[in-house]
Amino acid sequence: MASYSTNEFRRGLKVMIDGDPCTIVENEFVKPGKGQAFNRVKLRNLRTGRIWERTFKSGESVEAADVMDVDMQYLYNDGSQWHFMHPETFEQVAAGEAAVGDAKKWLKEQDVCTVTLWNGEPISVTPPNHVVLKVVDTEPGVRGDTAQGGSKPATLETGAVVQVPLFIDIGDEIKVDTRTGEYIARASKG
């Protein structure tokens, strides 16, 4: 099995920690006085999303994690699994609830997502930064009120609820930033 020494540590490196694949978020070299050198490393557990800091003795080796980020098209949800397809090889993978996590409320069929594979199995799904989704429920729109502030909740076709301006109506398509869950603009009028 491949492994990395602490002096190869850098942002984005994928390593196995306590049996879980993790990515290095930050790596800091510290060396007190006349003593031993350490690496203070911020890690993200790719299965659980947990971010924490661990200190390693410099020169120590850590097992590499066989992790790849692949762009795949979201196909459909069969009730328990979310199915994705590689756009060139047409290879398909199915991700369970744990891997899809919060991404599920932004998944629209045909959209291209980043699927993180560990030993070939999906462990997390990242939706596109921006998605266009149809409003399926909201209070009736207020005509003419396109400039004034104020917002209301709107339910989207995927089940996500976002705050939208008062002029948005059922049937409108809106653009949302999936990283913040915020409304960006109206994409088309319903």
Binding site: P32, K34, G35, F38, K57
Partner: protein, 323 residues
Amino acid sequence: MRSGDGWAPAADRRALELRARVNARIREFMVSRGILEVETPALLQAVDPAAALQPFRVEAGDGRRWLHTSPELPMKRLLAAGSGPIYQLCHVWRDGERGRRHNPEFTLLEWYRPGFSLSALMDEVEALVHHVTEGIRELPAPFLRLSWAEAMTRCAGLADPHRADIPALRETLAVAGVDVADAGGEALDAWRDLVLVHCVEPALPPSVFLHDYPASQAALARIRPGDPPVAERFECYLGGMELANGFLELTDPVEQRRRFEAENRARAAAGLEPLPIDEAFLAALEAGLPECAGVALGVDRLLMWLTGADAIDAVLAFPWERA
């Protein structure tokens, strides 16, 4: 970094100017105190074998040499020859030391004071820092002085730091919520350093000297007998960053040889190449090194503090990857 601008310096004009100004002020301070500037070779036939330091090895046409990790040993030969107080401002090299506050090649200001106590040398370090920073950035407060044990008790809650064993140090880290897995292994001093780094350093006053380290962390400092015995060594911290390390210098050639041999055994145990013993240096100790105190100060770190830089790269013309 834009692609294609790898040729450009990392430090801006202001940082370059500040470095020139700091160098000039250092020399001004040294001249005013009658300390002689000296230059010693950077490529040596023998260097300090400290297991925690990795010198760069160079294959010369007439044999193997090492780049100095500090100018300490040749400067002590000058002291033994009766140089009186001396200083050197030079580049030194330490392989593998790269990070936010480390560059493998960096600038050290090292000076020696025959007849000085450790306390008198701390006064002088403080005076130098005042002289260099005056009118550029105001120092947070007068430097405090805390023994290593006081700092470990105040900041990490250890009741008896010198006697705390590995399980007690592990417990301290666990209580503080620090994940270090088994980074300290079997080495008591590594666990002490883990507590220092995670629990003590972040809680230190903005300007402080730590002194009286555990005897096992003496390096080239004298050990003061007592219960417990302590290393006559200090570390100067500014803004939570280690700035300088000072010793009441070990002058005993027998003890010095014993420590070099112990470091070489530690190197072998860690799978590192043992280094030749500097016999010229030991002969100088035999001839007689005057009682003295000495200190090495990281000039790049001082520049980081003066500019408020978060990373050493901001004060280096060409950091490691661009060198």
